[in-house]
């Protein structure tokens, strides 16, 4: 599959390449899933080291280990050559390591000032010295070219501004190592420029930066070192000067596990699902649409993959199709019938089902058994008069377990006892038990291992080929686009940016999503 011995970082040759923090043979596993496999990673003093990798490559895990959020299963971390152990983020912060998380970790009800000094309040003679805190906040915000009043509640700020506050907080602790996990995903172009100016400024002060971004070109502008992770293994290291975008994409994507191919040999049927000029309003920002006049037709027996970066509007689109998110314009048409105003339950009854993205939050009822979860969406199928029939339910459940190949001790096993992949199969099996015509899946491969992924895709391909199911699935891993999908739709900023057949290349897809423009 891939070289088992990770490529070692280039030996230190120049005095400028002074290593301040390094991870040695760090591994991390969650249960049986190995997120990181003996990774070696160096951070250079006063320079930017960028970590590249697809989703699930282990980038965030590695950063969480370096910043004390998680502890490695094995291996050690060296700070200035000395082994250190962080039992918490506070530990790491004390040693000068801060992290700006990908998801915001601000308290929305508190002001900018209170957020920046949360947990490190400046104490004066009369309790907290608010004036001093406000003064420092104002100075920080000015440095970041974002003159927000320190007393503004964070919830009143735009997402981009909140991100700036997050950055300001990390700056305020005078870190010598600053980890930025996707800091630009919510920023506008001008805000990114400001951030880059701040990064250059920090470098000149000797602060070392670890940078993660899906916007590869952007990252190449700022970085000095590039490290590529794939499937928990460090696959490549190079200095910025020696590489180009193509090198990164090649190393990121690598060869792929066979996730199947589009099923053939069956004729596509009528249009099963039709999205007609669909718009969805952004709940956070008025007058903005997360999905913007999007139209898409899917035929019976067809598999369509929706690819896009975070924030492209995939999840909103799919939740809207299922009926959780209201439309602000357009129609959702199921087999010729407008279902735009039907409830989730009514859409399920008509044969339109959603397998949600986050199975813990939206897919499973953790207090119920495997069997009860599997039968939850099709209770009516085993209800006679008022009462449910235990035998009939058993039939429904056993059939589902067999159909989607769930490995379990039995229907009465607790849902939490299953592996991630099997839990995902329960969510899929639950929706398939309603005998749908159209299945919409939001990132069905998220958080499950490669074998389970292949099985899930095989299941969907069979459904399309044998039952004439119309399948729409979204993914943020480009490799998965080129598996079972007949058609690949790339979404960017709420619109369809491009459409490809099954013969598209990874580079084409990534370019269309705005992730990377390969010349």
């Amino acid at each position: 599959m891939m070289p088992s011995s990770p490529i070692q970082p280039a030996p230190v040759s120049e005095p400028a390449d002074d290593i301040v923090l390094s991870a040695r043979d760090v591994a991390k596993s969650f249960g049986s899933v190995q997120a990181l496999k003996t990774v070696n990673f160096d951070v250079y003093r006063g320079q930017v080291t960028t970590l590249f990798g697809e989703n699930g490559a282990g980038k965030s895990t590695l950063m969480k280990i370096l910043s004390g959020v998680m502890q490695p299963t094995s291996g050690e971390i060296l700070l200035e050559g000395e082994p250190v152990r962080f039992s918490s983020t506070t530990d790491a912060q004390r040693l000068g390591i801060s992290i700006i998380h990908q998801e915001l970790s601000l308290a929305p009800n508190l002001s900018v000032r209170d957020n920046i000094f949360m947990g490190r309040e400046i104490k004066g003679a009369m309790g907290i010295d608010y004036a001093e805190e406000a003064r420092q906040t104002r100075a920080l915000m000015e440095e970041l070219d974002e003159p927000i009043d320190p007393l503004t509640p964070v919830e009143d700020l735009r997402l981009g501004q909140q991100q700036i506050v997050e950055i300001a907080r990390a700056l305020s602790v005078n870190s010598r190592i600053l980890i930025m996990d996707e800091p630009t995903s919510a920023l506008s172009a001008t805000e990114v420029e400001v951030l880059f100016r701040v990064i250059r400024d920090l470098k000149s002060r000797g602060v070392s930066i670890v940078y993660i971004s899906h916007h590869l070109e952007e990252a190449l502008l700022i970085t000095e070192h590039a490290v590529v992770l794939r499937d928990g293994v460090m696959t490549a290291y190079a200095r910025r000067a020696d590489i180009d975008l193509e090198w990164i994409v090649r190393n990121m994507v690598g060869e792929n596990f066979d996730l199947g191919s589009p099923p053939t040999g069956h004729a596509l049927g009528e249009i099963a699902l039709s999205l007609d000029d669909v718009s969805i309003a952004d709940t956070a920002v008025p007058d903005r649409s997360v999905v913007d006049h999007l139209s898409l037709d899917v035929r019976a027996g067809e598999i369509v993959c929706i690819y896009g970066l975070m924030g492209a509007g995939r999840t909103e689109l799919l939740e809207c199709v299922a009926g959780r998110v209201p439309l602000s314009g357009g129609r959702v048409v199921l087999e010729g019938e407008d279902v735009s105003h039907l409830s989730i339950a009514e859409r399920i009854a008509k044969g339109l089902v959603l397998v949600p993205e986050d199975r813990q939050r939206d897919g499973l009822v953790q207090t119920m058994s495997v069997g009860e979860n599997l039968s939850l969406a099709s209770i009516k199928a085993f209800t006679r008069w008022l009462l449910t029939s235990g035998n009939r339910e058993r039939g429904v459940v056993d059939e589902s377990i067999a159909n989607v190949h769930i490995k379990t001790d039995g229907p009465s096993a607790e849902i939490g006892s299953l592996s991630g992949g099997n839990q995902q199969k329960v969510v899929i099996g639950k929706m398939l038990a309603t005998h749908p015509r159209v299945v919409v899946l939001d990132e069905p491969s998220r958080g499950i291992d490669i074998g389970a992924k292949a099985e899930v895709f095989k299941l969907l391909a069979e459904g399309a080929a044998k039952k004439g199911l119309a399948v729409v699935f979204s993914t943020s891993e480009v490799g998965e686009c080129l598996s079972i999908a007949h058609r690949i739709v790339v979404m960017s900023r709420g619109r369809i940016a491009a459409e490809f057949g099954a013969d598209a290349s990874k580079e084409q897809i990534m370019a269309a999503s705005g992730e990377a423009v390969v010349a």
């Binding site: 249960g31 899933v33 989703n55 699930g56 895990t61 939050r361 207090t367 939850l376 299953l418």
Partner: protein, 389 residues
């Protein structure tokens, strides 16, 4: 290794005394209470005393069953005590005859009409609760606290603070029979206890054998997932509050029949006893876990304990202390049971699978919330003392 094999053994249903005691704690507590009080007082262990105590339990039992439905969906209903009081007063009012000055007539509804109207009042109060909570997103605690005051206030207004003592009706008017709602006995068993038994059986069937029951459990277990599976979550929420209101109304009827009077302050703080019954019965206040059998046992534990304390002559102040201690103990055992369950799951899943919720690719952007949650979960479990034994 040994821990793991223990877990595996438990999976196979191997004998484990600690576990048995923990799971059947409400039952064992009830047995212990009966044994202790029987040894302290010769009066306690007799059929007549059990029947008397059971008729007290009937009130709490009815309230607890309604409360169980609400708690299973992850809500809480603080208004049941006041609803009980108001419904008793409404029944008393109807028994006095409703006069229409305009027509110069006074109507004396028969008892079955009184029962239906009273239950309708309870259902109405529940409906207000449910609509506020499900559709207007008012937190259950606040909405039902508001109704607690409103219902009590209305009861006091209706009676001017006085009590209806004449609930007997008269044969000429055709409205006798109110004493059959709780005061009388059928085959030697107080009618109130029989009513409790009927309500309990209906609730048991509804929860275990109907789609509605499944909806209640799934709404409490994970409302978002339930909704995406086609469960009418909002309707379920309204329904459980309506049913809780009806249970409170029935309890109000039984209580006024038992007391042969209906006062506006009846049922004050009963909502707390009802919650205690549900919790002692092993239900989780976070929703999704609990059953009718446990709740009934919980109601009996509280009832038999407080009556026992009365019988052996413990001061009512001490009764309060004991009851409180039992409730805290029950909640403590609940959290031990549920955290124990989580740990066991982790261990069982160890060899072939990641622990529940652990993302296999924790660095994908969208799985970070998940990863964070797992971390905090792990931290919180780690923070607790070893609770398995």
């Amino acid at each position: 290794m040994s821990k793991h094999s223990q877990a595996a053994e438990r999976q196979r249903g191997g004998f484990d005394l600690g576990r048995l005691l923990l799971e059947g704690r409400a039952f064992f507590a009830l047995i212990a209470i009966i044994i202790i009080f029987s040894s302290l007082s010769p009066v306690y262990f007799s059929t007549s005393n059990f029947l008397t105590m059971s008729s007290h339990v009937a009130i709490f039992g009815l309230l607890s069953i309604g409360m169980l439905l609400v708690i299973l969906t992850g809500g809480i209903d603080l208004s049941v005590g006041s609803t009980l009081g108001l419904c008793g007063v409404v029944a008393g009012f109807l028994m006095q005859g409703v006069s229409f000055d305009m027509f110069g007539v006074t109507l004396y509804p028969p008892v079955w009409v009184v029962v239906i109207l009273t239950c309708a009042v309870g259902a109405f109060i529940g409906a207000i609760n449910g609509v506020l909570i499900a559709y207007f997103k008012v937190p259950a605690f606040v909405a039902t606290l508001g109704l607690l005051y409103v219902a009590r206030g209305v009861a006091l207004l209706m009676t001017d603070g006085l009590t209806y003592n004449n609930l007997g009706g008269s044969a000429e008017l055709g409205n006798t029979g109110f004493d059959w709602l709780g005061f009388n006995r059928l085959f030697g068993v107080p009618v109130g206890v029989l009513i409790l038994a009927v309500v309990a059986i209906v609730a048991l069937l509804a929860l275990s054998r109907t789609p509605f029951g499944r909806w209640v459990y799934s709404t409490g277990g994970n409302a978002r997932a339930a909704e995406l599976s086609g469960v009418p979550v909002k309707r379920v929420q309204v329904s459980v509050y309506v049913l809780s209101g009806i249970c409170a109304a029935i309890a109000g009827l039984v209580l006024s029949s038992q007391l042969t009077s209906a006062g506006p302050t009846a049922g004050t703080t009963y909502e707390l006893t009802a919650i205690a019954g549900v919790v002692i019965g092993g239900a989780a206040l976070t929703g999704g876990r609990g059953n009718v059998r446990g709740t009934l046992l919980g109601a009996f534990v509280i009832g038999f304990l407080s009556d026992g304390l009365v019988i052996i002559g413990v001061s009512s102040y001490w009764q309060t202390v004991f009851t409180g201690a039992v409730i805290v103990l029950a909640v403590l055992l609940n959290s031990i049971q549920y955290s124990g369950r989580k740990k066991r799951v982790d261990k069982v899943s160890e060899p072939g699978s990641p622990n529940p919720g652990a993302p296999a690719n924790p660095s994908s952007p969208s799985s970070n919330a998940d990863a964070a949650r797992v971390t905090s979960e792990a931290e919180s479990t780690a923070g607790k003392p070893a609770t398995q034994h």
